[in-house]
C-alpha cells in the first residue's frame, strides 16, 4: 500500500513539475516582451524544424546510399555529426551561465528516482535531442529502404545510440553545471570556450597552410582517427549495423553490447553527479576556499596628473574590472588574431585584397579594434550592476564618471593600436607613413563619434552584463541598431576620405579630411558629455532598475 502511495506521490510530483513548466511558459506571455520572445522562439524553432527535416532527408539519402553501395561502415560518417551536434549544441547554448533550475526542486520531498527522471526529461525536449532524433529517424528510414531486413535491428541500435547520447548530454551538463557554480571556474571555462572557438577559426587556415606539405602524415593521422572512432558511440553503433548488414551477427551483437555498456557507464557517472546534488552538496561561492589569508599592505589608489581624484578612482576601477575579465580581455585581442587569420588563410593568396594592398592591413586592424571596443563603449554601465546606485549616491557628477570610463576606452584603443602596429609590421611589413597617419587621424574622428553615441546609448538603453561570463549577454536591440548605423556612417566617411586621397594621388589628403572631421566629432563629444549630468538624472530610475535587476 505504501509502495502504491509512493508511486502515486511521485506521479503527482512529476505532474506538478510539468504543470510548473507550463505555468511558467503561460505567465511569460503576460508581457509584451514575453510575447515577442515567444514569437522569436517560434521563428527560431521553425528554422530548426526546417533544418531538422532537411537533415532527416539528407541522412536518409546518405544511409540509403551507403547500404545500397555496400559501404555500411560509412554510416559512421552520418552518426558522428549527429553525436557532435547532440553534445556540443547544448553546452554552447547555455554558454557558461549559471543554471539553478533543477537544484530548486530539491527543497521538495522528491525521491531520487523522480529527481533522476526529471533531470533526464529536462534535457530531452531541447533542440539538440529533437534534431538529433529527427536525423536518426532519417538514418533509420534510409536503412529501411535499402535493406528492409535490417530495419528492426537498426532501429534497436539507433534507439540505444539515442539513449547513450541523451545520457552523455545530461552527464556533461551535470558536471559543467557543477563547475559553473563557482565564479572562478565559470571564468576559466569561459576563457577556454573562447579559445576553443578561436582554435576552430584556425583549422581552415592551418589546413591550407600545412596541408600540401605533409600529406603522408595527414593520411597517417586520418587512419589513426578511423580506428579510434570505432571505440566511441557513433563508431560502435555504425559497426553494429554494418556487421549485421554483412551477416556477422556475433560481431554486430558485441558492438551493440559495448554500446550498451558504454551507456551504462555514462549513466553511472550521471548517477554519481545527480546523487551528490540530491544529497545536498554545497556549491555556493562562499564555500570556495579563500585565495589567501595573509594580509597585504594597502596601497593608495592611482593618481592621474591633471585629473580630479574621482576620475582617477573610476579609471582605476574600470581597469581593474577589465583586467579581471578573461572573456573581455580575449575579445580585445581579436584584431591581432584576425590579422593572423588573414595572413595564414585564403586572404594571403595572390590576388587577394591584403596581398595586393598590404598597407591596408593597419587601417583594417584599427577599424576592427574600434568595432570590438564598441562592446564596452555602447554599454558603459552594464558591468557595474548594483554599483550604479553607488554612482548615483556619490557626490560625483556623471559627466566625470563617464569621462573616466571613456579615458579607459581610449587607453585600450591606444594599446590595441600599438599591438596592431607591431603585428602588422611583423606580418605584412611596416605600414606606409601616409596610411598610418591617415589611420590615426581617422581614429581621432571615429573614436569620439563612437564614444558620444555610446555614452548616450549607455544611459538610454542600458543592459546588465556580467564580465565573468560569456554568451547570452547580448546588447539591447536599440543599441545594436544605432551602433550599426554609426558604424555605417563612420566607415562610409572613412572610405570616401581614402578614395578622395587616392584619386588625387595624395595620401595626406585623407589625413586632412579626417582631422577636419575629428574637429567636428570632438565638439560633438564634448557637447554630449556636458549634457550627461542632466540626462543621467532624467534616466536615473530606468538605469537603476535595469542594472539592479536580479
Amino acid at each position: 500500500m505504501s509502495e502504491l502511495n509512493l508511486t502515486v506521490h511521485a506521479r503527482g510530483q512529476l505532474a506538478a513539475i510539468a504543470d510548473l513548466r507550463w505555468r511558467l511558459f503561460i505567465n511569460s506571455l503576460r508581457t509584451t516582451r514575453g510575447k515577442l520572445e515567444f514569437l522569436s522562439r517560434g521563428l527560431v524553432s521553425l528554422a530548426f524544424l526546417l533544418g531538422g527535416l532537411g537533415g532527416c532527408f539528407a541522412m536518409a539519402a546518405g544511409a540509403f546510399y551507403f547500404l545500397s553501395a555496400g559501404k555500411p561502415d560509412l554510416l559512421a560518417l552520418l552518426l558522428w555529426p549527429v553525436f557532435f551536434f547532440w553534445q556540443v549544441f547544448p553546452v554552447m547554448a547555455t554558454a557558461f551561465t549559471n543554471n539553478p533550475d533543477s537544484s530548486d526542486l530539491l527543497r521538495f520531498p522528491l525521491s531520487y528516482r523522480s529527481y533522476f527522471l526529471v533531470r533526464l526529461a529536462y534535457g530531452s525536449f531541447d533542440i539538440a535531442p529533437a534534431l538529433g532524433s529527427m536525423w536518426l529517424a532519417g538514418i533509420f528510414l534510409g536503412i529501411g529502404f535499402a535493406r528492409p531486413t535490417l530495419l528492426l535491428w537498426a532501429g534497436l541500435v539507433l534507439l540505444a545510440f539515442a539513449l547513450v547520447n541523451l545520457l552523455i548530454m545530461q552527464m556533461v551538463f551535470a558536471w559543467v553545471e557543477r563547475w559553473l557554480a563557482r565564479r572562478r571556474t565559470r571564468e576559466i571555462l569561459g576563457v577556454l570556450f573562447i579559445l576553443l572557438m578561436l582554435s576552430l577559426q584556425l583549422i581552415g587556415p592551418l589546413m591550407e597552410h600545412f596541408g600540401r606539405r605533409s600529406r603522408p602524415e595527414m593520411t597517417r593521422w586520418i587512419e589513426l582517427l578511423r580506428t579510434t572512432q570505432a571505440l566511441f558511440p557513433p563508431g560502435l553503433a555504425a559497426d553494429a549495423i554494418a556487421q549485421a548488414a554483412r551477416s556477422h551477427f556475433m560481431v554486430s551483437f558485441s558492438s551493440f553490447l559495448l554500446l550498451c555498456a558504454l551507456g551504462t557507464t555514462i549513466g553511472y557517472f550521471l548517477h554519481v553527479r545527480l546523487g551528490a546534488q540530491y544529497r545536498g552538496e554545497n556549491l555556493s561561492e562562499v564555500a570556495a576556499p579563500s585565495a589567501s589569508i595573509e594580509r597585504q599592505p594597502l596601497r593608495p589608489g592611482w593618481n592621474l596628473p591633471g585629473l580630479p581624484p574621482s576620475v582617477a578612482a573610476v579609471f582605476e576601477k574600470e581597469i581593474r574590472y577589465l583586467a579581471r575579465s578573461g572573456p573581455m580581455l580575449l575579445t580585445l585581442i581579436m584584431p591581432i588574431f584576425m590579422l593572423v587569420i588573414f595572413r595564414l588563410g585564403p586572404m594571403s593568396r595572390q590576388g587577394s585584397f591584403f596581398a595586393r594592398a598590404p598597407n591596408m592591413a593597419f587601417p583594417a586592424a584599427a577599424g576592427y579594434a574600434l568595432l570590438i571596443l564598441t562592446n564596452l563603449v555602447y554599454n558603459n554601465f552594464g558591468g557595474d550592476a548594483t554599483g550604479i546606485q553607488f554612482f548615483y549616491a556619490s557626490p560625483v557628477r556623471f559627466s566625470q564618471i563617464i569621462l573616466a570610463k571613456n579615458l579607459t576606452h581610449a587607453t585600450i584603443l591606444v594599446l590595441e593600436m600599438a599591438l596592431a602596429w607591431v603585428a602588422v609590421t611583423y606580418l605584412y611589413g611596416p605600414p606606409a607613413p601616409g596610411i598610418a597617419l591617415a589611420t590615426l587621424a581617422g581614429l581621432l574622428f571615429a573614436a569620439p563619434v563612437n564614444l558620444a553615441a555610446g555614452n548616450l546609448l549607455s544611459i538610454y538603453s542600458p543592459k546588465k552584463l556580467d564580465y565573468s561570463t560569456f554568451g547570452r549577454q547580448r546588447a539591447s536591440q536599440t543599441t545594436v541598431l544605432v551602433s550599426l548605423l554609426v558604424q555605417i556612417i563612420v566607415v562610409s566617411l572613412g572610405v570616401t576620405a581614402f578614395l578622395v586621397a587616392r584619386s588625387y594621388g595624395r595620401s595626406w589628403m585623407a589625413s586632412a579630411i579626417f582631422l577636419a572631421l575629428a574637429a567636428i566629432s570632438v565638439t560633438a563629444y564634448v557637447t554630449v558629455l556636458k549634457k550627461m549630468d542632466r540626462i543621467a538624472e532624467q534616466r536615473r530610475e530606468t538605469l537603476i532598475s535595469e542594472l539592479c535587476r536580479t
Binding site: 565564479r183 561561492e285 562562499v286 570556495a288 579563500s290 585565495a291 589567501s292 589569508i293 595573509e294 594580509r295 597585504q296 594597502l298 596601497r299 593608495p300 589608489g301 593618481n303 581624484p309 574621482s310 582617477a312 578612482a313 573610476v314 582605476e316 576601477k317 581593474r320 574590472y321 579581471r324 575579465s325 558591468g383 557595474d384 550592476a385 548594483t386 554599483g387 550604479i388 546606485q389 553607488f390 548615483y392 549616491a393 556619490s394 557626490p395 560625483v396 557628477r397 564580465y467 565573468s468 538624472e537 536615473r540 530610475e541 537603476i544 539592479c548
Partner: protein, 269 residues
C-alpha cells in the same frame, strides 16, 4: 525638536502610474537622532529612503538634508551623507580594500587618507584577512559590513541604511551595531529602515511608521507609546499588567495587524 532638523521633508510624494507609493510625507529628524523608519511590506519605506538619498526623484514635495535642498544641490548633500541602499551598491569585481579605497576617493578623500581609513575599516569589520577575495565572493553578511564601511569612510554627518540587518548573522550584526552606536556617540544622525523591531527598539531613540504610503506615527518611543495607549484597544497586542508596550505592540496597533490567521488554518495544529 528645537534644533533645525537634519532631515526634513514637506509633502513628499511619489507615484508609480496609478499607485501612490509615498503620499504627502512630512518627516523631521533632529541632529544626533537614531531614527527608525518602520512599516509593513510595500508601505513605502524603500521608496522614501531612495528619495531621501537622491536615488529616486519625488513626484512632488521637498527634501532638505542638513538644511540643503536636495533637488537644487544634490552633490553638496551627497557629500555629507552615507548610504547603504537596498541592493548595497557594491562593485563585485573589486576586492574589499579596492572598493573602500575607491569609495573614499569618490567622496573626495586624499589618496593617503583613503588608504589609511580603508585599512582601519577592514580591521574593524574583520574583512582584512582575505585581501584577494573579490566582493562578489563575499558572504551576504560580509557584503553588508563592507557596504556600511563604504558608507562611513568619509565620516558622513547623516547615514541612511535600508534594511542593514537583513540576512546578517549575530556576529556581523554586533559589529554593525557597535559601528552605528559609535557614530551616534560622535554626533551623527542615522536613519534606518528595518523589519527587526527588537533591534530598532534597542537602537533607535525616535521612530516613524509609514503605512500604505502615509506617515501614521512619528516621535520618540515614549511619545508613540503614550499615543497608542491613549487609543481604545481591541484586546490584541496588549502588554502584561505593569509592563510597557513593546515596539512590536505599538507597531501592530498602529498599522492594524490581522487576526485572520488565528481563525483559519486549523489543520496546522
Amino acid at each position: 525638536m528645537d534644533a533645525a532638523p537634519t532631515i526634513s521633508t514637506q509633502g513628499l510624494t511619489r507615484r508609480f502610474g496609478e499607485l501612490v507609493a509615498v503620499d504627502d510625507v512630512n518627516l523631521r529628524v533632529a541632529p544626533g537622532q537614531f531614527f527608525g523608519f518602520l512599516g509593513p511590506n510595500g508601505a513605502g519605506k524603500s521608496t522614501t529612503i531612495k528619495m531621501l538619498t537622491g536615488l529616486l526623484a519625488p513626484t512632488a514635495g521637498r527634501i532638505e538634508i542638513l538644511g540643503v535642498d536636495l533637488a537644487n544641490n544634490p552633490v553638496e548633500v551627497k557629500r555629507q551623507i552615507g548610504v547603504v541602499p537596498e541592493g548595497m551598491a557594491l562593485f563585485g569585481r573589486l576586492t574589499g580594500a579596492e572598493f573602500l579605497n575607491f569609495a573614499g576617493r569618490m567622496y573626495g578623500l586624499e589618496r593617503g587618507t583613503a588608504a589609511k581609513r580603508t585599512a582601519e575599516l577592514l580591521d574593524l569589520t574583520q574583512l582584512a584577512d582575505q585581501p584577494k577575495k573579490l566582493v562578489a565572493d563575499y558572504s551576504h553578511g560580509m557584503q553588508k559590513k563592507l557596504a556600511l564601511a563604504a558608507a562611513v569612510i568619509h565620516g558622513p554627518k547623516v547615514l541612511f541604511l535600508d534594511e542593514p540587518f537583513e540576512g546578517v548573522d549575530a556576529i556581523a550584526s554586533g559589529t554593525l551595531k557597535s559601528m552605528l552606536q559609535r557614530m551616534i556617540a560622535r554626533g551623527a544622525t542615522i536613519f534606518l529602515t528595518s523589519h527587526v523591531l527588537e533591534i530598532v527598539e534597542r537602537l533607535c531613540s525616535h521612530v516613524a511608521i509609514i503605512h500604505q504610503g502615509r506617515l501614521v506615527a512619528q516621535g520618540s518611543l515614549e511619545e508613540l507609546r503614550a499615543g497608542v495607549e491613549a487609543q481604545p484597544s481591541d484586546g490584541r497586542s496588549q502588554p502584561s499588567s505593569g509592563e510597557k508596550l513593546t515596539l512590536e505592540q505599538i507597531f501592530l496597533r498602529t498599522v492594524g495587524g490581522s487576526s485572520r490567521s488565528e481563525q483559519e488554518l486549523s489543520w496546522l495544529g
